[in-house]
Symmetry: C2
Subunit: 268 residues, 2 copies
C-alpha cells in the first residue's frame, strides 16, 4: 500500500472522504507514492519518535502536531537552522514519510482525539451530553483526588492546579490540546464553564490572563471553581494511541504501532 492510499483510507473512515480546502494536514516529508512498510501513530514526530519508527521498520509516521515547530510547518525561516537541518537529515536518510492528521481528526463525526481521551479515562458513561465531549459528570470527589486520577490514568508525575485542592467536584469540563486557549474567542472556555456549571476545567494549553485568572478570582471569592492543567501532549496523545486500533483493519497486513511522544517537561 502506498502513502497516499493510507491517507485516503484514513480520511474516508474519519470524515467520509470530506477534505478541507485549507488545512495543516499535509505531508511534511516523503512522497505519496512510497510503499508503506509500517505505520507509527503519535502526538508529535519528535526525533525520538522518528528513531523508534526506524528501529521497528516503519517508514510512515502519522502525527497530530507539526514536525517543524510552527502551526503550518513553515520552512522558509528554517533553511539555515541547525535543529531543522539535523532533524531533516535523519528523516531523509531513512526515507520516512510524515503525514499530519490534525484538522480532519477533530472534524470526524465524533472528534477522534476526544474519543481516545474518553477511552483512556474510561469516561464513556460520564458525558453530560452524548453529542459533545467537553462536559462530564463523575462521582463526587475532590480536586486533589481528581488530580491523582489524572496522574495515574495518563501517566504524569506532576499536574498543575488553580484553586483549592480540597474543593469538592463532580462536574468536569475538558478542553484538550490548544482548544483551552480559546483561539479567536478568548472567553470561550469561561463561557463553557459558566454555561455548563462546571466545577473544574481540565486543560491542555493555557494562558495566565484568561481562564486561569478567572478561576483564580472565582476561588478567591469562595466559589467552587478550579482548573487542572495537563498540557497539550498529555491531553491529546490518547487520540493517537487509540488511532492505532481503528487504523489496523484499514491497512491490511501493514504493521501499525503507537509511539508515545511523551510529555516534554520535567518538573524540578
Amino acid at each position: 500500500m502506498k502513502v497516499q492510499e493510507v491517507i485516503d483510507k484514513v480520511l474516508l473512515d474519519a470524515c467520509g472522504g470530506k477534505k478541507l480546502e485549507k488545512t495543516c494536514d499535509v505531508l511534511a516529508s516523503g512522497d505519496p507514492e512510497m510503499q508503506v512498510t509500517g505505520i507509527v501513530t503519535t502526538f508529535m514526530a519528535t526525533v525520538d519518535v522518528i528513531k523508534e519508527a526506524i528501529a521497528i521498520g516503519a517508514n510512515m509516521i502519522i502525527t497530530h502536531e507539526p514536525t517543524y515547530f510552527t502551526g503550518l510547518d513553515e520552512l522558509e525561516w528554517l533553511q539555515q537552522d541547525p535543529v531543522y537541518l539535523a532533524k531533516r537529515k535523519l528523516i531523509e536518510e531513512h526515507r520516512i514519510a510524515i503525514w499530519r492528521f490534525h484538522d480532519h481528526m477533530h472534524l470526524a463525526h465524533t472528534d477522534r482525539i476526544y474519543d481516545g481521551f474518553i477511552k483512556e479515562m474510561g469516561w464513556e458513561n460520564e458525558l453530560i451530553d452524548k453529542s459533545s465531549p467537553w462536559a462530564y459528570e463523575i462521582e463526587k470527589t475532590t480536586l486533589r483526588e481528581l488530580a491523582e486520577l489524572f496522574k495515574r490514568k495518563i501517566a504524569m508525575d506532576v499536574v498543575r492546579i488553580v484553586g483549592n485542592p480540597d474543593m469538592p467536584c463532580s462536574r468536569i469540563g475538558v478542553l484538550v490540546g490548544g482548544g483551552s486557549l480559546g483561539l479567536g474567542r478568548e472567553q470561550m472556555p469561561m463561557e463553557l464553564m459558566n454555561d455548563k456549571n462546571l466545577d473544574v476545567m481540565v486543560c491542555g494549553e493555557i494562558t495566565e490572563w484568561t481562564l486561569c485568572a478567572y478561576v483564580n478570582d472565582a476561588a478567591m471569592l469562595g466559589m467552587n471553581k478550579a482548573m487542572l492543567i495537563i498540557g497539550h501532549e498529555r491531553s491529546e496523545e490518547w487520540g493517537m494511541k487509540h488511532m492505532a486500533g481503528w487504523l489496523r483493519p484499514l491497512v491490511g497486513d501493514i504493521a501499525v504501532a503507537f509511539v508515545d511522544a511523551r510529555e516534554p517537561f520535567r518538573y524540578l
Copy 2:
C-alpha cells in the same frame, strides 16, 4: 492628587508623555477625577490583591495585566457572569480605581518590566548587549543549578524544564510574560535562540508546538539546548515590584505599596 494626575506622571516618566493610540492601558474601574488615597502596584488586580489594597487604605491599583479575563478587558460577554459580578461589586463598594499599565511600560526607553526582572535577578552586568534585555551571559552552571537559582530568586516551589538537567549553560535568553509566545511570529523565540547562540531560553507563557518542540528535538539530537519555564506572572511581577520604587518620588506623600499577585498555580 487625582487618578488622572498619577497616570500622567507615570506616562511622562516612562515614555516622555508619548501615548499610544491603540492600547490596552485603560481605566478598568473608577474615575479619573477621584482623589488617590494610596497606590498599589501589582502584576494583576486579583480579588486578593484588591482586598489587600482595601486593607491598607489604597484606592488606586496599577496592574500590568487585565482585570476581567481577556486581553482587552471586554465586558459585553460578562454581564451575567457570577465571577465578574462579584468582583465588580467588591471593586465598586470600595471605590477602587484600577489602571492598566502594560503597553506603555514595555514601550519605555528601557522596558520597565525587564528592568525589574534584571534587578531581581541581579543580572545588570550579565547583559550580552546593553540595549536589549533578551540575552545574558552568566558564569557557567548547569540547567539544574539555573533552575534552583530561579526558584530562590523569584520564589517558586517548582519550575518546568525541557532538556537535560545536567546540561552545562552560560548563554541565557529571557522572554518574559507573553513575549515567549512569539505572537504574530511563532518562530521569533527560536530565531532569537539561534541568532544569539543561547543555551537556555527562560520563558513566561509557552505553547507546546513551537519553541518547546524545537528545544525538545534539539536535546534529543544531543545539542546543548534547553528551556526553563517560569510562567507569565513570575516572570513579570518584578517589574511591578520595582515600579513602587520609581513611582514614590513622582506622587509626593501618597503611599505606594507593591502587592505580589502570586503565582496562580500549585503543583500536585
